[in-house]
């Protein structure tokens, strides 16, 4: 429910620094939403479609939109389901009821990750300074995702557009401060030439 959503305190604490980012870069601490880890055996993926609202994406490293959120492929039998409108325990219960008869499982992992939105025309170049994946929109455009490392921290990276200018980064809350500081530091090279502005 929207009134229960809050944003990571460690990210909120850095909002002044986010506001001073150079032109062409924007970082937003997104409100935390309900997240459920969904496990469904290969032969039973259709059992989740009703609750999820869309067919589970079967192609590795992709995500699809669903009512209220997203479904991210995490493994050949594992997905991350997000929902901004549902309470975490309700999302978990609905998913579990749908897949448990088919040897599937659903676990509320809402507290496991927080989301950072990175936007702007320098967004892809910024990520490329700390991520080894090919992020060119021809291979990492809208609908692509990756569990990988950014800087030194494990993230789930979602491409939200086809221009390399809009990404959602899911990170463990205890690493969110490190990630934010890393992004702010990496952004320095996109400052316009001239006297450096203090970040």
């Amino acid at each position: 429910m929207a009134d229960t959503l809050h944003r990571s305190p460690v990210l909120r604490h850095r909002e002044d620094a986010f506001a001073r980012l150079p032109e062409g870069l924007e970082i937003v601490a997104e409100p935390d939403v309900a997240l459920a880890d969904l496990r469904v055996p290969e032969g039973a993926v259709a059992s989740a479609t009703g609750v999820v609202g869309v067919a589970l994406p079967l192609e590795p490293n992709t995500w699809v939109a669903r009512p209220g959120g997203q479904v991210v492929w995490l493994g050949p039998d594992e997905w991350l389901v997000s929902d901004a409108d549902e309470r975490p325990e309700a999302l978990e219960a609905a998913l579990r009821a749908a897949v448990a008869p088919h040897d599937g499982a659903a676990v509320d992992v809402s507290a496991q990750r927080t989301a950072v939105r990175l936007r702007g025309r320098h967004a892809r170049a910024l990520l490329a300074t700390g991520c080894a994946l090919d992020l060119h929109p021809s291979v990492f455009g809208a609908g692509r995702s990756a569990q990988t490392t950014l800087g030194l921290v494990g993230v789930v990276l979602l491409a939200l557009d086809d221009r390399g200018e809009d990404y959602r980064i899911l990170v463990r809350p205890s690493f969110a401060g490190y990630l934010a500081d890393w992004l702010l530091d990496a952004a320095v090279e996109f400052e316009p030439p001239g006297p450096a502005a203090a970040l």
Partner: protein, 93 residues
Amino acid sequence: MQLIRCPWCGPREEVEFHYGGQAHVAYPDDPAALTDEQWARYVFFRDNPKGAFAERWSHSAGCRRWFNAVRDTRTYRFLAVYKPGEARPEVAS
């Protein structure tokens, strides 16, 4: 940095992976029937070939799945990767 191909995620940097030792070491059918020496051979003894070696790897920083790979121990070159349950592929080293 060397890239290792995860059977699901595709090529990723080697730091995303963890090594899991020799592949295709079957758990004994009846462990209680083994002598201490036979059990020790199962637990501790592994091949150490010079050349193609079938190994277990985990894509620990990515999809967290285990898979198998045939790697040339002389060159560190990965000759094949394959999913658990699949037979070791024939590869020329």
